[in-house]
Amino acid sequence: MKAITAEELYKTYDKGKIKALDGLNLDVEEGTVLGVLGPNGAGKTTTVRVLATLLVPDAGRATVSGIDVIKNPQEVRKIIGLSGQYAAVDETLTGWDNLIMFGRLYHLSARAAKSRAIELLEQFSLTDSAKRPIRTYSGGMRRRLDLAASLIVKPKVLFLDEPTTGLDPRGRQDMWGVINELVKGGVTLLLTTQYLEEADQLADEIAVIDHGKVIARGTSDSLKKQVGGERLEIVVENQHMAATKEIVARISSSALNVDEGLRLISAPVTTGSKALIEAAKLLDEMGIHPLDIGLKRPSLDDVFLSLTGHLAEEKKDEDLALASKKRGR
């Protein structure tokens, strides 16, 4: 059973000048996590807005749990949760106030709203800050409260729009932990992200989108295979370049990439940290002390480079389009 389907979605802004969605197709199997990966302006947020009933597409069809989002938005709203950069909570109110308000808006009784709020605050480690206004929360706490608010009625399908954008590494780690716990509970999740690492951590499958359509789809392993996986990178003094090249060649079976200017030698590796340890050991045996040594994970740019031949551009088209659309109204 498909929890989410989207067929040939089109959406243009600014009288057709900007294509936010250009024939987007997507589906998510029930109980799985799909990561939608793409740069700003690729159409990620527009996709979420269509699926979460906030935006009606110009053409195409979409369903959530088999319910048509365009024809029957109110039914869809009963079974989804939405959280993310553009869906927020009331910062003047306390965490408790917010959860009660949203609980009541989901038509829970006063008593049910209270017990659910207590549960959620506990689950997201926010019990101690429940009576403080949200604006005093850290970025990570705010996101957790936001996520909690979208889980009040235990949604069948959850949309998380860039759940960790703007968080520090610690906040991001916490958020990943929380999301992973949720997924174990069996919810179907669609999350958008700009970070390959995030999609890798959380998603069963990844859809890469660019210019309003899906340009690649697969598990993170299969995408990484296309991209080339991790690379070992070593920076050494000039006089050690030759010896280091030999060492790296012994560890990696693929061609080396040498940047003489940066004194950087890199090569794809398949054994992860083992390759790193081995390289460090061999360098040490030779008496070479590298200036820098590390494993580089493929970035969104690497994915885009290998899939499209161009880097992930930061596009502001979508924002601009919406802005001018508003002015027009």
Binding site: T53, I80, Y86, L93, L105, H107, A323, R327, R329
Partner: protein, 264 residues
Amino acid sequence: MHAISDALIITKRQLLQLARVPELILFSIIQPIMFVLLFRYVFGGSIDTGQPGGYVQLLMPGIFVQTVAFTLAGTAVGLTADMQKGLIARFRSLPISRSAVVFGRTLGDGALNIVVLTAMGLTGYVVGWRPSSGFLNITLGFVFLLVFGFAMSWIGVLIGLSVREERVATNATFIAVFPLTFLSNAFAPTTGMPKPLQYIAEWNPVSTMVAGCRQLFGLENQFGATAGSFPSDNPLTMSIVYMIIIMAIFIPLSVRKYNRAVNK
């Protein structure tokens, strides 16, 4: 139906905001009180009203109407802020009535008006305002003011959901309301204006409201160009007609706008 209970939850949210940040109430009442005092003592001495009790009797209904007319600014700014922060998107993703958020907001702003009008009325009393029409008529006058504020609030909904920034909302509402309240009989008699302007001023809904409230508070009205016409003879009826027109236009437009609202 959940339409009403949903709207009341949104109203409650707004009142909770006031409870959590009491400065919000404080600043909502300081400005109108300041206006009462400034007009009373700056213009009060130089405007000869020819009515017993002096300028303050004419001033108070005018300043009440101006204040409730400005309700639309609060509504607009509040909604623009909710929109910018993504709260509107969150509300729209919930299975609530399509009009709950905007109805709740206008009701909440109406509730704040009760506090504001009370503070102003008390200040007015301190500086010499003495409505002479008896409890029932005075109460009716305040009910009129609250309903007018509620109607104006709907114009604020449309403005608030149409602009992208709070500062724009502030300026847009000021431009909309300021001329309306000054091109009226609220602070000075229209009889001193150039004749063509008198027609505009006296047909202005703010003027019919002010005239209606003066009537309810036991005062006589003066009219210039439109003396003897329907609005001048029946300011209360005319005000009701205006309020119905405003709501009939702006409630459907605002609800529609809300249901298509998407933040940046």
